[in-house]
């Protein structure tokens, strides 16, 4: 059961903590907002990903099950 990282861009205020904690999957754009690898989180990084989700000061980061249908905007 794979999971992907998703950010709620409305709640995200560009703290940048996520990119420090999970540089393998998250980098920051030129304005400080996260660019997230859309692929499922590798199992080796699973614990790190959960810690990163918990560490976000704005609680903007989530782990989504990938067998759920992708939301249509």
């Amino acid at each position: 059961m794979a999971e992907t990282l998703r950010v709620n861009p409305i709640n995200c205020s560009g703290h940048g903590v996520c990119a420090e904690l999970l540089p393998e999957l998250i980098s920051l754009d030129e304005w400080g907002y996260p660019i997230i690898d859309p692929r499922p989180v590798p199992s080796a990084l699973d614990l790190e990903a959960r810690r990163t989700v918990a560490a976000c000061p704005a609680l903007a980061l989530k782990l989504i099950r990938t067998d759920a249908p992708a939301p249509v905007r």
Binding site: S13, G14, H15, G16, V17, E20, A55, P57, L59
Partner: protein, 209 residues
């Protein structure tokens, strides 16, 4: 009031440490909200320290209350730790302590349950920090004469100055913050001025250079 038991000394000592920790938590919390950094440390250190020190502060206050209760020189019921007006000894000052501890517990519990709570509710409770610290400070000054002279007084003044500086910094930022609806207009004015306005003259000069 001079007590001679170990419990009494432990209570006063843990109280002082708790005040220091609480001051640190508030300053760190303001640093987090301003996306500030501690020199030499990564960003996640600020949020981590803020959260961990707040838990440490609660632990110290728990010991602070417990040792005060266990001390037999004065009679303080354990409920006085969280219930206002529960102690006949120094009723007013201990009430302040209970109130600030209650706010602290509310802040920590809502933060632990943050994912399940309404965002507005979490934020409202967390803003009580600005009430919590002064109340705790008043409790510290008033409930024993320790902080009223000597180096402990210097310590107390130092904490107050640190909080005053951090809060002023926060207020200054809040005053400068544009409301959401005005942010787009501000960025547009800076980067994409309307053709024919003074801003666009500057942009044209930038191109010509």
């Amino acid at each position: 009031m001079n007590g001679t038991t170990a419990f009494w000394y432990a209570s006063r000592a843990t109280g002082v440490v708790a005040l220091l920790l609480l001051t640190a938590v508030l300053v760190l919390g303001i640093l987090v909200s301003r996306q500030g950094r501690l020199p030499g440390l990564p960003r996640f250190a600020v949020t981590s320290l803020h959260r961990n020190i707040s838990l440490l502060a609660v632990a110290f206050i728990a010991v602070h209350v417990l040792t005060a209760v266990l001390d037999t020189y004065v009679n303080i019921p354990i409920l006085a730790g969280v219930v206002p007006f529960a102690s006949s000894y120094e009723r007013g000052w201990l009430t302040l302590g209970a109130v600030s501890f209650d706010i602290m517990l509310a802040m920590i519990i809502t933060s632990l349950l943050r994912g399940r709570l309404n965002r507005v509710l979490w934020r409202a409770v967390h803003l009580l920090a600005y009430l919590c610290w002064p109340v705790a400070f008043a409790h510290s000054i008033g409930s024993s004469r320790d902080l009223q002279h000597g180096w402990l007084l210097d310590l107390a003044v130092g904490c107050a100055l640190a909080v005053a500086a951090a809060v002023s910094w926060r207020l200054a930022h809040a005053a400068r913050q544009l409301p959401r609806a005005a942010r787009v207009a501000a960025i547009m004015a800076r980067h994409a001025p309307a053709p024919g306005t003074r801003g666009s003259e500057r942009t044209r000069e930038r191109i010509a250079r």
